[in-house]
Each structure stands twice: as structure tokens, then as C-alpha cells.
């Protein structure tokens, strides 16, 4: 996160397609809890008059999910993995006005 970019091979199937999995390093997780800027909340409320896609929320969720993935990647990187397989996502409403975005997977070493 400190300016360095970690690139890992990621997939949500049981292996990395086209690569051989050498060893498994266990579960890695990443999560983030986000709340909404109140000004944007008002705009989203205005958008609710017509319904449809709520762009402000979509944006927020995308950027927080990327952060969760980044944390998971750092966790895997710290264990010396170079791939994550079987990634799953979960979203839950932990409190009024906040959402938790969670992702988890299995860190592996591939050749």
C-alpha cells in the first residue's frame, strides 16, 4: 500500500488456469468497513426519486472492494505466496450507514 504495487495471480476457480499449484499456504482475508459522505448521501437520495442505478454507491462499493482485495493481496504477499485461488466475496450491513466488504481466498504458490 505504501506506493508499491503487488501483482498476484488471482482466480475464483480451484487453480490458476494454465499454471501448476505447488503448495497451499492457507486462508487469506481482507476486509474494509466504509460509510458514506453525507453530502453524497443527499444526492443519492435525490436520485432515488427516479430510481435506477445509484452511481455514488456503485463507485463507493467498487473502491472499497478494491481496497479489500488489496489487503488480501498484502496478506498473501506477506506469506510469500504468488497466487490466490478460490476467491469469494461477502457484503454485509454491519451498522446503520456502514457496510462491510469482505473477501477471502486460499494463498498458493504456483510455478
Amino acid at each position: 500500500m505504501q506506493g508499491q504495487t503487488i501483482s498476484l495471480l488471482m482466480s475464483n476457480v480451484e487453480s490458476i488456469p494454465g499454471k501448476n499449484v505447488v503448495s497451499s499456504l492457507g486462508l487469506v482475508t481482507g476486509s474494509t468497513v466504509r460509510a458514506k459522505h453525507i453530502g453524497k448521501d443527499i444526492f443519492a437520495g435525490l436520485k432515488n426519486i427516479v430510481g435506477g442505478e445509484l452511481k455514488a454507491y456503485t463507485e463507493l462499493l467498487n473502491e472499497s472492494r478494491n481496497e479489500a482485495i488489496q489487503r488480501m493481496m498484502m496478506d498473501a504477499h506477506a506469506r510469500g505466496a504468488n497466487g490466490i485461488v478460490n476467491i469469494r466475496f461477502a457484503t454485509s450491513n454491519v451498522a446503520a450507514g456502514a457496510s462491510e466488504l469482505f473477501c477471502y481466498g486460499t494463498a498458493v504458490v504456483v510455478e
Binding site: 488471482m10 437520495g45 426519486i49 427516479v50 442505478e53 456503485t58 457484503t91
Partner: protein
């Protein structure tokens, strides 16, 4: 003058659900037809060269590149529609407005997943999963402002 003000203060809040409902129907018909156009343009291109599947038992030997694709999308019905759905839910039955909104969200999420795959040069998408969850960033519990999040994720292979 005062009578006019009183009438306005009664009529405007009463007509708000109807206005919102009508605006919502109009706006959503617009975005749905736009989505159908996009599906026609992009769908036909992608269907030719991509195999899209929910299965993970696909032969992946010879894949030279793989990446995780994920798309999330928030949709919500309009306030007027929510009001009428609340009325409808007294009697139960099919809530048509919700059907339309949720169907739109899911199709849009899949379309964006395909677009993302096309941008990264993938030729097939495997193991697609779609998750639905209710998210609300409203600061008070009283406010009924709820939206539904669709998350679609998959592995793209080239």
C-alpha cells in the same frame, strides 16, 4: 393567498408519490432500452468469441493468462414505486416494480463483466457467481432508502 398555500401544501406531498412513480417508470424504461441496445451490440460480439459459463469444470490447459473480474452495481427503485409497493405488500402478490429494477441490475452487472473481460482481452469467462445484498448508507434507521447491490465475479481466461 393563504387558501392557495394550504391547497398547495396538501396537494404537493400527496402527489409526490405519483410524480416519483411516473418519473421512475419513464426513467427506468429509458435505461432498460439502452441496456438492451448495448446487449445487442456487445452481446453478439462476445457470444461469438467467448464461452461464458458458471461451471468451473472447464478444461483450462493451455490458458496463458487469467485474471479475476469483479463488477458491483447498486440499484434502487424510486420512492414512489416503494410507496406503491408498500401498499401492494398489504395484499401480497407480485411486486412488478421490484422485478423490473432487479432484472435491470443483474443484466447490467453481467454486461459490465463481459465488457471488463473484453477490455482485458479474455476469450472466455468461467465460474461466474452473482451475489445480491441489501446495502443502505442512510444515516438513520427511519429512512427507508434502501438499495440492492449486485456483485458479479468470475475468472477471465485467455
Amino acid at each position: 393567498m393563504i387558501i392557495l398555500y394550504i391547497i398547495a401544501s396538501i396537494v404537493v406531498p400527496l402527489s409526490f408519490p405519483f410524480i416519483s412513480w411516473a418519473l421512475g417508470r419513464w426513467y427506468q424504461a429509458g435505461i432498460t432500452s439502452k441496456l438492451m441496445e448495448n446487449e445487442k451490440i456487445l452481446g453478439s460480439i462476445l457470444d461469438d468469441k467467448m464461452s461464458v459459463t458458471t461451471s468451473n469444470k472447464v478444461s483450462m490447459i493451455g490458458a496463458e493468462y487469467s485474471t479475476l473480474l469483479h463488477v458491483s452495481l447498486c440499484v434502487g427503485p424510486s420512492m414512489g414505486q416503494m410507496f406503491f409497493m408498500w401498499l401492494k405488500s398489504i395484499f401480497g402478490g407480485r411486486l412488478h416494480s421490484y422485478d423490473v429494477v432487479l432484472d435491470f441490475g443483474r443484466r447490467e452487472a453481467l454486461l459490465r463483466l463481459k465488457q471488463q473481460a473484453a477490455e482485458r482481452g479474455c476469450t472466455s469467462i468461467v465460474n461466474i457467481r452473482i451475489e445480491t445484498s441489501v446495502v443502505s448508507f442512510a444515516k438513520t434507521q427511519k429512512s427507508k432508502q434502501a438499495s440492492v447491490e449486485f456483485l458479479a465475479f468470475a475468472t477471465g481466461i485467455r
